[in-house]
């Protein structure tokens, strides 16, 4: 008997490093009971990654290399921010096998070969994470069918914790992309003038060390390599998620910010991105323009523990209720596969 579930081939591999791959991990959890999913990694090495094969096994999700798939397929081929999907013509081959191709850039730019593939009719549907992202990318897609699917975060993966850190701690979690960091990042943190505060960053890299080679990172700083700690442990160590961004970078959504909110870490983020859609300023985070706004809010939260405690809970509540509603995300995603 033919399965009623849609067949979805996901081109990529889950990870807890980087927004798109983390998104994929959570998306698989969301969809596994409703779709017949096969994850197709770019490289063979992923199939030996016990952590993630066990994860997929636990949810009954299949995985296979592209060359081991049948010559004819039916269903959907989904890929999100996978650099190789177009440049290695995986999308083209998947289309030839009979899949309807669904693509999500996840970024504020088009990937190598993406627009050419769209012009060639390889892509059947484009997905956006936000209206903000859509305004930037849509002109390149012309009349391609599209949907805004947002960014599902499985809230149970990021439990709330009431903070009692010995030292007030601020920090950030993001890809170690130098463009995501403002030119003055370490001075910016230190100039917030938070007494005895600690500064924690994950994921740090040699490139970032080079970028800020003029700064003396003293013992207030923990600069952690990617995945040095679990995301949850790391976020639990922070009181505030202070997330200034580089001047050429635009955040399409802000996944790590929502993850922080779920754990009760209060975000202070820049205006001019997508953050207005993720929080209510003053109630579940702070959207800042001027440096003095960052400093005033950070100091207010430092000195007023009851306020901090209340806002931490509100961050969690806001994220769970407004951003991570499982049923709503499921409805949106199942519509994509119609």
């Amino acid at each position: 008997m033919k399965s009623a579930k849609q067949k979805v081939f996901v081109f990529g591999w889950p990870s807890f490093l980087g927004g798109a791959d983390t998104k994929l991990a959570h998306l698989l959890v969301l969809l596994h009971q409703h779709c017949e999913i096969t994850v197709v990694p770019n490289e063979n090495k992923h199939l030996h990654d016990r952590h993630w094969t066990k994860f997929l096994d636990a949810y009954g999700i299949k995985y296979a290399l592209f060359q081991n798939l049948p010559s004819k397929l039916e269903g959907f081929g989904l890929s999100m921010s996978n650099q190789c999907f177009f440049s290695h013509r995986i999308a083209h081959s998947a289309k030839e096998k009979g899949l309807k191709i669904i693509w999500s850039s996840e970024m504020m730019w088009h990937h190598d070969g993406e627009l050419e593939a769209v012009k060639q009719g390889v892509v059947d549907k484009a997905l956006y994470v936000s209206e903000f992202q859509k305004r930037t990318l849509a002109p390149g897609y012309a009349d391609l069918p599209s949907a805004i699917t947002g960014n599902y975060v499985e809230s149970e993966f990021f439990p709330f914790k009431e903070r009692h850190n010995a030292n007030f701690t601020i920090g950030r979690l993001s890809r170690a992309d130098p463009l995501k960091y403002p030119e003055d990042f370490p001075v910016f943190y230190e100039a917030l003038e938070l007494p005895e505060a600690r500064f924690r960053v994950m994921a740090w890299s040699d490139q970032l060390t080079h970028k800020y080679r003029w700064h003396l990172f003293d013992d207030r700083w923990d600069l952690l390599k990617p995945e040095k700690e679990s995301q949850v442990d790391f976020l639990h160590s922070l009181d505030l998620f202070v997330y200034p961004l580089g001047h050429t970078f635009r955040e399409s959504w802000g996944r790590s910010t929502v993850e922080a909110m779920l754990t009760g870490c209060i975000p202070l983020v820049p205006s001019g991105h997508q953050f207005e859609a993720l929080m209510v300023h003053g109630e579940s985070g702070f959207i800042c323009g001027d440096f003095l706004e960052y400093r005033n809010y950070a100091q207010q939260l430092f000195y007023d523990f009851p306020l901090r405690t209340r806002l931490a809970k509100q961050c969690r509540e806001h994220a769970v209720t407004n951003l991570c509603d499982r049923e709503e995300h499921l409805r949106v995603w199942l519509e994509v596969f119609q």
């Binding site: 003055d184 001075v187 001047h247 323009g289 001027d290």
Partner: protein, 259 residues
């Protein structure tokens, strides 16, 4: 031993003569830091380097010398001085104005201040200049102008500083504005300093100020307090900086050099 900082400048002709006055004034008040001067003639008391012929337009040579020559020197920080500068007392630790920033240049006036009487900076209307700065990532509510007479850069930020300045120069040129060193330094400073409000004129005026109105016209600063005039609002502020950018004292500096 690696010095924490040195002063530096690039001069020729009369400016080289004035540089002699700068060094003499510094020594007179007990400043014995190294002065590295790229010059076409000897400057006593300074470590002199032969200045190649340089294009003076817009003072952009400050940035190219910084990147190509000064960076080769073994100091943590470099303090640029225009050659029409005069020390009236020992400034103490000049690096106190860094406040952890890798760059310092005094942020003088807020170009977005509605009280401004001067409508433009280097012929660019204030609101357009603010737009240019915001478009290239300056986030603070106040957008400041600077005077290029003194700036300090950490050795390891020079490449970034130069690149930011060049990025801004290119962007402005594409938008019809060809700027000299000051708007470029103002941009790079506000991108790199963390908290711009820690580097304003009022926060740092004990170290350095520019006598652009000519309080000491054809005369040398004497270490007494004087009124600085805000370039945009014309507000008068009583100052007594250790280092004076004696812009209107050039003839007196030349005389002083030979005295």
């Amino acid at each position: 031993m690696k010095g924490r900082y040195c002063y530096w400048s690039v001069v020729d002709g009369d400016y080289a003569v004035m540089a002699q006055a700068v060094v003499k004034s510094a020594r007179r008040v007990g400043v014995f830091k190294d002065f590295h001067i790229w010059t076409d003639r000897p400057v006593e008391g300074a470590i002199c380097h032969q200045a190649a012929k340089f294009d003076k337009w817009g003072c952009l040579f400050k940035l190219t010398y910084l990147r190509d020559a000064v960076k080769q020197l073994n100091y943590d920080y470099f303090v640029w001085l225009d050659s029409d500068t005069y020390f009236v007392r020992n400034p103490g630790d000049v690096l106190r104005v860094m406040r952890c920033s890798p760059v310092h240049i005094t942020l003088e006036c807020d170009l977005s201040n509605p009280e401004n009487r001067r409508p433009d900076w280097w012929d660019c209307p204030n609101d357009q200049f603010v737009e240019l700065m915001r478009a290239k990532g300056v986030r603070s509510k106040a957008v400041f102008n600077v005077n290029g007479g003194l700036f300090i850069a950490h050795h390891d930020v020079i490449e970034t500083l130069f690149n930011l300045a060049y990025e801004f120069w290119t962007y402005c040129k594409e938008n019809g504005w060809t700027f000299n060193d000051e708007p470029l330094l103002a941009y790079a400073m506000q991108m790199l300093c963390g908290n711009p409000y820690a580097h304003t004129f009022r926060e740092t005026m004990d170290l350095w100020a520019s006598d652009w109105t000519g309080r000491y016209h054809d005369d040398l600063p004497d270490g007494k307090a004087w009124f600085f005039s805000d370039y945009f609002t014309e507000e008068k502020i009583l100052v007594n900086p250790a280092i004076v950018h004696a812009m209107r004292s050039k003839s007196a500096l030349i005389v002083s050099a030979g005295a």
